[in-house]
């Protein structure tokens, strides 16, 4: 009851983590393409991190971002450039992306957080697009349209990639959980609910919005840096993509449940599986963006709080009606 969240959700994170850690056992199941499933598991976990990142800034703090690809891409390029320019392992990108993405987010915040509501959202679209164009055109530095290829793969098998991203996801989950219950979490939600009221209650809204943006960006950048090591290839059109990254981040959280604890994870499961299913349908598969658009409209109309958010409302309703 004390959490400032509309629905803090239930579930035991450690039990969930243990169950997820057992997923690589799928290799023991005969007749299953374990590699294919592990790839999807990795994507689900990676997207749940991006979702948690977006949820922090846009779900809790109410600053809707349409530009999370900017931070994903900067993280990915930090890892890629460490490899391409300095000859280091792209894995160092996960460390290096923290200060790089953090600094980039400060700059973005300085420009965009002066704007409120839809104007902030529009400005974040611009940031994502600008970075894609920059990465495409700074050919000498980023390799332009060619992207960056990591020639040596760390592992052929996917198990370790899975455990690494799972560790990042677990750390992020724990971090966001603690944050939301703290003074900062209350301030983020206060800013979301009414910025003028928050300001007059002594909350330095500019400062706390900037903190939310930087934390959110750094988390998203980690996912981007991992992506480089895992996929072994990055391309400006992919890592700075408006629809495949920025909008997908929004979809994951909207479907799962905005400002909920488990929303990003549930949303990532649904969206990644759905994307896979749609892709396998002949002919229709190429129109998956259209289908996602339709899905988003359906979710907004029927499940405005997402799968997790509205499940909670339903449960609460039942509890009130039960005589005590």
């Amino acid at each position: 009851m004390r959490a400032p969240v509309a629905n803090p959700g239930r579930g035991r994170p450690l039990a969930v983590l243990a169950a997820l850690a057992a997923l690589p056992l799928i290799a023991l199941v005969p007749g299953v393409n374990a590699n294919y499933w592990m790839h999807n598991f990795i994507l689900v976990v990676m997207w749940s991190i991006i979702g948690m990142s977006w949820n922090l800034l846009s779900g809790y703090c109410g600053q809707v971002s349409f530009g999370h690809a900017a931070f994903f891409g900067i993280g990915a390029y930090t890892a890629g450039l460490l490899y391409a320019k300095l000859g280091l392992s792209a894995w160092w990108g996960m460390l290096a992306s923290v200060p790089v993405v953090g600094a980039a987010a400060l700059l973005v915040g300085f420009i965009c957080l002066r704007l409120r509501g839809p104007f902030f959202a529009l400005s974040t679209i611009a940031i994502g697009v600008i970075l894609r164009i920059v990465a495409e055109n700074l050919v000498g530095f980023t390799g332009g349209d060619q992207g960056i290829m990591i020639r040596e793969r760390t592992w052929v098998e996917k198990t370790w990639y899975f455990y690494i991203i799972l560790a990042v996801a677990a750390a992020t989950f724990w971090f966001v959980d603690r944050l939301v219950a703290s003074r900062l979490g209350y301030y983020f939600v206060a800013i979301r609910e009414d910025q003028d009221a928050a300001e007059s209650l002594g909350i330095d809204t500019t400062r706390y919005k900037t903190i939310a943006l930087v934390l959110s960006a750094v988390i998203c950048g980690l996912a981007g840096a991992f992506y480089t090591s895992y996929m072994g290839y990055i391309d400006p059109k992919v890592v700075f993509a408006l629809h495949d990254v920025s909008v997908m981040a929004i979809m994951v959280v909207m479907v799962g449940g905005v400002a909920t604890r488990w929303g990003p994870a549930i949303g990532a499961v649904i969206m990644i599986l759905l994307a896979e299913i749609i892709r396998t349908i002949p002919k229709v598969g190429t129109a998956h963006h259209t289908l996602f658009g339709v899905l988003l409209i359906v979710v907004i109309i029927f499940l405005p709080n997402g799968v997790v958010g509205d499940a909670g409302a339903l449960r609460r309703l039942l509890r009130i009606r039960r005589p005590s």
């Binding site: 004390r2 400032p4 009221a197 007059s200 002594g202």
Partner: protein, 240 residues
């Protein structure tokens, strides 16, 4: 003795419109100052200028001897000047308690202390019974009181109440007047905007009257209700 709040020659223009023109007044420590005037007289604009939402176009505002005009609202609040809003601004999807906890954090950075302080404020303002209600579901009377509770949780030395009693039914009104009196007894200075003459006359120590953005009169409730200019500008329309 220097005043707690000094408003010196404050003007505020919106384009060509003068919402406030050269207004001077002060609030002494421990008193309740009523700010009255017909609709559009500039009362809420005055609050917005004092609280830092607008910078004064001319003049200055001093609080505890320190210039506060030009500071942001959160900085003004941090110096001990809190306000409520005429159009209530609850943090809608948060519970009553969480609303107050948000502002209690200003003086109590730890969560346990902030919650304890907020609970004390909720008891003080008789909102304890609705502490777990999501604030958008509260009736208007309680939302008005939540505004007071939230402002109070920042431990202000000066509390600005913007029509905190408007739209209340008679029993809610009695309760709110009682709460405002108890806030005064705790040693908090109050500046209040109110249309309810019964409320303003009974709780104010002094009254400042604004019309068309200018100060028309200043004095005790008795002086104000006897002032022919005030009666003409304001009370003359009929005293219910």
């Amino acid at each position: 003795m220097s005043a707690l709040l000094e408003v010196k020659g404050v003007s505020r223009f919106f384009g060509g419109l003068a919402a406030l023109t050269d207004v001077d007044f002060h609030v002494d420590k421990g008193e309740v100052l009523g700010l009255i005037g017909p609709n559009g007289a500039g009362k809420t604009t005055m609050f917005n200028v004092v609280n830092g939402f607008y910078a004064p176009s001319r003049g200055e505002i001093r609080f505890k001897g320190e210039r506060i005009s030009g500071l942001k609202p959160h900085q003004v609040c941090g110096r001990g000047l809190a306000r409520t809003f005429q159009v209530v601004k609850p943090l809608q999807r948060m519970t009553t308690l969480d609303n107050v906890v948000c502002s209690a954090f200003l003086r109590h950075p730890g969560r346990a202390e902030a919650v304890a302080h907020a609970e004390e404020i909720l008891r003080f303002t008789n909102l304890w019974d609705v502490r777990d209600t999501v604030s958008k579901r509260l009736p208007l009377g309680l939302r008005k009181r939540l505004e007071i509770a939230r402002a109070l949780a920042t431990n202000p030395d000066l509390l600005l109440l913007d029509e905190a009693c408007a739209g209340l039914n008679p029993s809610e009104l009695e309760e709110s007047i009682g709460i405002i009196r108890r806030i005064k007894e705790r040693g908090t200075t109050i500046m209040i905007i109110e249309h309810h003459m019964k409320v303003i006359m009974s709780i104010s120590d002094r009254i400042v009257v604004l019309t068309y953005g200018q100060k028309l009169a200043e004095g005790s409730p008795a002086q104000i209700s006897a002032n022919p200019e005030v009666i003409k500008a304001y009370l003359g329309e009929g005293d219910d």
